[in-house]
């Protein structure tokens, strides 16, 4: 159903910490693995061992260089998957109803057996979060691991998206962003979590935590003498050493 629900019971989503993401691609591959074996058609690859390999991925990690006005350039690793927008344009454009946003948790999904593979929803998504599978010819996108987060065949602690479970740096968090008391909402509040392309009006549920300020070590007070010498001369240093040793517990009696 391509009408968006006026409100969802919960707003499940991801919070991605750009301060901590080391760009290891673990989330990319675990997502590929899980979603190849689970929900819907496998994520295929064409020419996988050839000259032009290309495959379907639901999560990709970009990297950007940021050049401050002065100071060293910085590098930011930037994972991106579906943001499960509240105002998801990909849903409303879908002619078949294959794309829909779930009322109970806000997850945006594609019902593959209804999808005609017209590609319009991928056009409508500003973030590049939808990919047409080249073999199955249906639209694939992040499912927020809907087949894990409620899965009673998994131990309780594993009922989270697989990219979150696998992230070695702990840069990915999952929870209810509709609940201001949830851990993810708290994190967003504390760290100034932000929306991507807010001007697009998509109202994304996923939030990004910006990198903390970098290279502050010598920005404190440019003129401060950092460490006070105990003596200017090596000889003086040994004198200091003698005195210092005397002051230690069990020094000179």
């Amino acid at each position: 159903m391509t009408e968006l629900p006026t409100a969802t019971d919960r707003k499940l989503g991801l919070v991605i910490d750009l301060d901590t993401c080391v760009g290891c691609h673990a989330c990319v591959i675990s997502c590929k693995g899980w979603n190849t074996e689970n929900y819907g058609a496998p994520l295929s690859d064409t020419d996988p061992y050839g000259a032009d390999p290309s495959g379907t991925f639901l999560n990709r990690v970009h990297s950007y260089e940021v050049q401050p006005e002065d100071g060293a350039a910085q590098l930011v690793h930037f994972p991106k998957s579906c943001l499960h927008c509240d105002n998801a344009p990909c849903v409303t454009v879908c002619p078949t109803g294959a794309s829909y946003k779930r009322v109970e948790d806000g997850i945006v999904l594609v019902n593959e057996s209804d999808c005609i593979g017209c590609g319009l929803c991928a056009w409508a998504c500003p973030y590049g979060a939808r990919e047409m599978d080249a073999v199955e010819k249906v639209m694939k996108k992040c499912t927020l691991c809907v087949d894990r987060i409620y899965n009673e065949n998994l131990p309780e602690e594993d009922r989270e998206p697989v990219c979150v479970r696998t992230c070695p740096a702990g840069a990915r968090h999952f929870g209810d962003l509709g609940d201001p008391d949830s851990e993810v909402s708290q994190l967003v509040a504390a760290r100034g979590g932000m929306d991507l392309m807010p001007e697009q009006g998509t109202a994304p549920v996923n939030k990004y935590l910006p990198p903390r300020p970098r290279d502050q070590l010598d920005q404190v007070d440019v003129l401060a003498p950092y460490l006070e010498p105990v003596a200017q001369e090596p000889r003086g240093f040994l004198g200091w050493l003698d005195r210092a040793l005397d002051q230690m517990p069990g020094g000179k009696e």
Binding site: M1, T2, E3, L4, L18, D52, S54, T56, F57, V61, H62, S63, Y64, E65, V66, Q67, P68, A73, Q74, L75, V76, K80, P89, V91, T92, V93, C94, P95, T96, G97, D114, C115, I116, G117, C118, G119, L120, A122, W123, A124, C125, P126, Y127, E131, M132, A134, E136, K137, V138, M194, D195, L196, M197, Q200, G201, Y208, P210, P211, P213, R214
Partner: protein, 289 residues
């Protein structure tokens, strides 16, 4: 955006076809019998053929009927309905004209209105995509509608209407290009808003995959400035200039046919640009804007 031949062909031909049908619905020309048959056949072939062509780019054409379900929100679904309705209504109307020598005019008016609505729906599919700022403007439906009107008039042999309508369409076309070139910049979507990185100027460093992918193939097409200028001039001359010129000459069917052909060629070029030059904001993530 990737200029997919099937879509370029579909939008160009169906626009023309529905334009012609609209004129036929309005009784211009009010021909009957075999002449009417010929006109309607061309109209249905272009409009219907376009529809068929469009299914070529579907992953699962066998499920195409499902596309009728979401008319409440989806312009594509609405287009499916309006085009079906147009073809049905105009079919009835054509039966009257061809076989009964009758002009069931209310049906004709309805058909004409539906044709316009169809073209409008087609245009709105693109217009509604905010992620492509170049399309996301009221000019897009105006462009599609004026073009259909001009092309339709030309096809319908409404020489006196065709020339001014084409001139109008040409003006809109120029406007579309002019405002389109600054659309991404005006949209407010930038590398900074896309990434939220604000401590300095952001630049794409490494792409997520070293190879290509669906998004790059489908959404990130880059047209060289020179190439674009050349094609625009070509489109203006072939699509609008030459046909108008030919129409101003004393009318012969051969000249009419020639005008028609250059018009179609020009519009195909313009339509290629319509897609190829449309910058999807996802390109920002790949540093390709």
């Amino acid at each position: 955006m990737h200029p997919a031949p099937s879509i370029i062909l579909f939008t160009t031909l169906s626009g023309l076809g529905f334009g012609l049908l609209a004129f036929l619905g309005l009784g211009m020309p009010g021909a009957t019998g075999w002449v009417a048959f010929a006109f309607f056949a061309i109209g249905f072939a272009l409009a219907g053929g376009g529809l068929v062509a469009s299914t070529f780019h579907l992953g699962h054409p066998e499920r195409a009927l499902k596309a009728f379900t979401q008319w409440r929100t989806s312009w594509l679904s609405r287009e499916a309905w309006t085009s079906l309705a147009t073809l049905s209504v105009m079919g009835l109307y054509a039966i009257g004209r061809v076989f009964f020598d009758a002009s069931w005019q209310p049906l004709g008016w309805l058909g004409a209105a539906l044709s316009v609505a169809t073209v409008y729906c087609t245009a709105m599919i693109y217009t509604s995509i905010k992620a492509v700022p170049r399309w996301n403007t009221g000019l897009t439906p105006l462009h599609f509608l004026t073009l259909s009107a001009g092309g339709g008039a030309l096809l319908a042999g409404e020489v006196s209407l065709a020339a001014p309508l084409l001139a109008l369409a040409a003006a809109v076309q120029v406007l579309v290009w002019m405002q389109g070139d600054g659309a991404l910049a005006r949209s407010g979507t930038t590398m900074a808003s896309a990434t939220g990185l604000s401590s300095g100027a952001a630049r794409a460093f490494e792409p997520p995959h070293t190879g290509t992918n669906y998004l790059l193939r489908e959404m990130v097409h880059v047209v060289g400035r020179k190439h674009s200028r050349r094609l625009r001039v070509l489109a203006l001359i072939l699509g609008y200039g030459l046909p108008i010129l030919l129409l101003l000459l004393p009318f012969t069917h051969w000249l009419g046919l020639l005008a028609m052909l250059t018009h179609i060629l020009g519009i195909l070029a313009a339509r290629w640009l319509f897609f190829a030059e449309a910058e999807h904001v996802v390109g920002l993530y790949y540093g390709k804007r």
